[in-house]
Symmetry: C2
Subunit: 382 residues, 2 copies
């Protein structure tokens, strides 16, 4: 695959529009803004990115010079030996000075305070910009390809979950399902899923959710409870794949269901997801996607509120270098073609369980396209 490469025209335009001399950000390897700007997978130590005079510059951290040169898609990598300052903020100031920059420097609002203070003490006026977050919304073909690969890993993980659940035995002495002679718990199942994700070259970043029964009400459940027949099992995957891009795939299964709440909830969520998908297109109103999804869930008799019961969250959100990024489908915004979204409605009831279905799609001019497909089956299939 061709590596995604950030083009900095948007930043050049933002500096022009704001009459600013440069842009600076500082962070470590978990700062997604920096990952997007640099394509450098980073170090735990913080480092600086500077855009000034039309040049994109990475001030690489100590010990990561080779990796920075290999990965950075901007113009110049400065190593600690190239600069006198010993903090990332100080290095950014030094680079700006080398370009004779003065006046305003733009930063993301969450730039570390010490870096902002250093810029101010060097005489710059610091102002925040959300230009990077806006630029990240629409994905180019290389980014879409990276997202597809991450989603392929999510799909492999889901396949493993469904295979284990289909093979699990509901007739053990225990009330939990038995798998390969052992009691099946959410931790056991999550490890099976995560191992399958890793084998596909992606990483489950402490956010694989495997929940069963009442625990499904907690959308971010990471605890250990038995997986029982007749109860909902929510499996939600958001692995980080090539170049830091994420997948997003959620399914809900029930082993040996006797119908009832979980069957009705599944039909409601399946139908609501379809309604949401049908609303997608370039120019579509994001919040309408959410509202139509909520209305469909309501039509099945489930409340669409924001408490503990019913459809308690948004219909979807942007996915990219961040697991969750702009736009949120509850936002008052128009969808642009190339926006990648997780469409992910759910219904919950603390006394029954939870059902959620989620898929990764890219918005096109007149609809959407799945970035990977996985069947929706209430009963797990081998």
């Amino acid at each position: 695959m061709v590596a995604p490469e950030t083009t900095f025209a948007f930043l050049y335009d933002e500096l022009e529009a704001r009459d600013a001399a440069g842009f600076v950000h500082v962070g470590g390897r978990f700062d997604d803004t920096l990952r997007y700007l640099t394509r450098f997978s980073g170090s735990d130590d913080r480092y600086a990115f500077v855009f000034v005079g039309g040049d994109a510059i990475l001030c690489a951290p100590d010990g990561f010079e080779r990796q920075a040169r290999r990965e950075f898609t901007g113009d110049y990598v400065y190593t600690p030996e190239d600069l006198r300052a010993d903090t990332p903020g100080g290095r950014a100031v030094e680079v700006l000075a080398a370009y004779d920059a003065d006046g305003t420097v733009l930063v993301p609002q969450d730039v570390p305070h010490d870096a902002a203070v250093r810029l101010e003490r060097a005489g710059f006026e610091v102002a925040s910009t959300d230009a990077v977050a806006r630029e990240r919304v629409v994905k180019d073909p290389e980014e879409i390809e990276a997202l597809r690969k991450a989603q392929a890993a999510a799909t492999a993980g889901m396949r493993r979950a469904e295979t284990v659940l289909a093979a699990a035995d509901a007739d053990g002495a225990d009330d939990a399902l038995q798998y390969e002679g052992e009691r099946l718990t959410t931790t056991h199942l999550r490890r099976e899923v995560d191992a399958a994700v890793v084998r596909e070259g992606a990483l489950p970043g402490e956010n694989t959710v495997v929940a069963a029964g009442g625990a499904c009400t907690d959308r971010h459940f990471r605890g250990d409870v038995p997986v029982r027949p007749g109860e909902t099992v929510v499996v939600a995957l958001a692995p980080r794949g090539p170049h830091g891009y994420h997948g997003a795939l959620t399914r809900t299964f029930v082993v040996d269901s006797d119908g009832g709440w979980e069957r009705r909830a599944f039909l409601a969520v399946e139908s609501a997801q379809q309604v949401g998908l049908d609303e997608l297109a370039g120019g579509a109103d994001a919040s309408l996607v959410h509202e139509e999804t909520a209305a469909e869930i309501g039509a099945y008799g489930f409340p669409a509120g924001y408490g503990d019961t019913g459809f308690t969250h948004g219909a979807g959100y942007g996915v990219g270098v961040s697991r969750r990024e702009s736009p949120d489908l509850r936002d008052d915004t128009r969808l642009e073609p190339g926006t990648v979204l997780a469409i992910e409605p759910g219904v919950y009831d603390p006394s029954e369980g939870g059902v959620r279905l989620g898929d990764l799609v890219v918005v096109t001019d007149d609809g959407f396209e799945f970035l990977g497909e996985y069947p929706r089956s209430f009963t797990p299939r081998a």
Copy 2:
């Protein structure tokens, strides 16, 4: 295992010493300072921690209220419904106001700038503190137990790497090793290792290094090159385990070595690691551990400089909620009992390869203790 729990006496003392009214930090789930303070595994959305009036308060992000209540080991969880502000910085201000706090508020130096600005606009004087980083150096028994578990996962990953290398066939048609009928590459081996780590319940956080030959010179190599007989293979693991604590295990293997550089380098590094370990004890001078390690490598005829060749990095560093934290063994500081360190010397030569050996230990009153043991074998053993 018993979950680690942060006690806030150190923060209370710091506020007293600095005549400050409170402490605030803001960040997302990859902010290790917040992870330590809250034990909350967090959301991608940012959230605030406030210590004021002797109370430790987590302002939980939207949708994570249950998880926050389950995990937070401080006093109170405030949900978005409990507060009027809609940013984490604004919520921190609101909590401080509820305690009638005024004057100075302490923050870590990398608190997000927007949060610091919000505190300043609310009339507080913002001053930075490194009290949390200092407190994190010495681990309590629950933290040691979490580190042991993470190291057990690293050990399982290394066992897998060594097993694959021992079973690989050097007599294929290709010049690369063959494993199960396929050409063995660093990516292939890394996936095998990562899957084994995940099965032990830890997560390889995009930092498992598998390098071969000249690529070993890049200590953070994540690329794909063939694994060839006679070349060094560096496998470095730092998985994130229970409660966010990390392991640290590095080994170097050579399949079908003909002796020469790699054999000499292995003996030098093995001996240097032992010298470094022998220096460890409560009250020992950290930089002396590094210097003695470097001297031993020098005695084997390898340069101990900071270029591309020889012993190009420090002898070790602290490990905890961060993969790498205080102290660095090049620092001018005394080691305290309970400090957990990776002791990890290495020798590199761009034209030959690299050898690095690393283990996780805890400093005791009169020496050290391994947090997991793994043999050091030059030739991989099945």
